[in-house]
Symmetry: C2
Subunit: 159 residues, 2 copies
DNA sequence: ATTGATAATGAAAATCGTTTTCAATAAGGA
DNA sequence: TCCTTATTGAAAACGATTTTCATTATCAAT
């Protein structure tokens, strides 16, 4: 009941049942939290946020649930090179913008950007088609990340 | 002496000294091994290969050396999502082809490809210039990876 | 060549994110 | 409501990587 925010009647329930998964309090709590909160959260970030409202939910369940959600395609799992995985909702019913990440190699700050996506989509389409033909590799997903120095770290003299 | 392969008088010595690093047997052994052997090796892969010729070199030194080499820009460190980092030489004096990876999410096989790099380079150039202007983010590196199913795993019925 | 300051090394222990184990609990079809 | 079984949480296990620290090796100065 504290979960719903009125944008659809628990639209993910169907997905769960369809995959043979049960709908449980921890799963609802985690999905609800992800849909409301910041992006690129680590498992522990998520654990702490969920924990404030549901102290009974353990870190193990967070990991297990994130794994399921990633396999179902509801969330993305990222590695930004700092030793812990990061997660973000693929898109809510509202539809979040497709985006990529700029990763500062000095301070680990993450900047989302949504620019140049059109050009990129075109390139990717061509690439995916070509790779399918040449290697018979069926692409389901891609990752594009840029590494470098953010404004602050450039001034500080870099890493 | 068993290190040299005649393609340049230990060209990396200069880079080392320039960074204040000493040239040591383990470092030469590791670089030499990387220049001769397959790509996307894990730290343990490298350890075992180096170990056959230099049993005294420990795994700790492998990690430390790989870290230095990555910071110097001599090698790339990749994460393919299987829990261990992979490393490959950026390019030897012979010049290796710029390439990207297709990662099979079912069997973890890695396929290198060098196709469509021209189109990609053009897109990246534009993107980098635009991101620099908009976010004042100085890009030093990028990562592009495709995930999907290789030929074999498609036939097996996927993951 | 010898020396000396100190960077680099290896073994073992520590770290830390993530997984596994297992007994207890809860979801949801009957 | 009952019953099967998926799900859970706590603790232990795991595994890649890092740290510690005493020893060794590099190399600039002699």
């Amino acid at each position: 009941m504290p979960m719903s925010r009125g944008f659809g009647p628990m639209w993910w329930h169907g997905r769960f049942r369809g995959c043979g998964y049960r709908v449980t309090v921890p799963r609802e709590a985690i999905l609800d939290m992800l849909s409301k909160s910041d992006k690129h959260l680590s498992a522990e970030d998520i654990y702490m946020k969920v924990h404030t409202r549901y102290p009974a939910i353990g870190l193990t369940t967070i990991y297990r649930t994130l794994d399921i959600l990633a396999n179902m395609g509801l969330i993305f799992k990222f590695d930004f090179g700092d030793g812990r995985a990061r997660y973000e909702l693929v898109e809510g019913p509202k539809g979040k913008m497709h985006h990529h990440h700029l990763i500062c190699t000095s301070c680990n700050r993450i900047i989302d950007y949504t620019d140049f996506i059109d050009d990129e989509v075109e390139l990717l389409k061509r690439t995916e088609k070509g790779l399918l033909k040449k290697y018979n590799f069926k692409i389901t997903n891609h990752l594009i990340q840029f590494y470098g120095l953010c404004e602050k770290c450039q001034k500080k003299g870099g890493d």
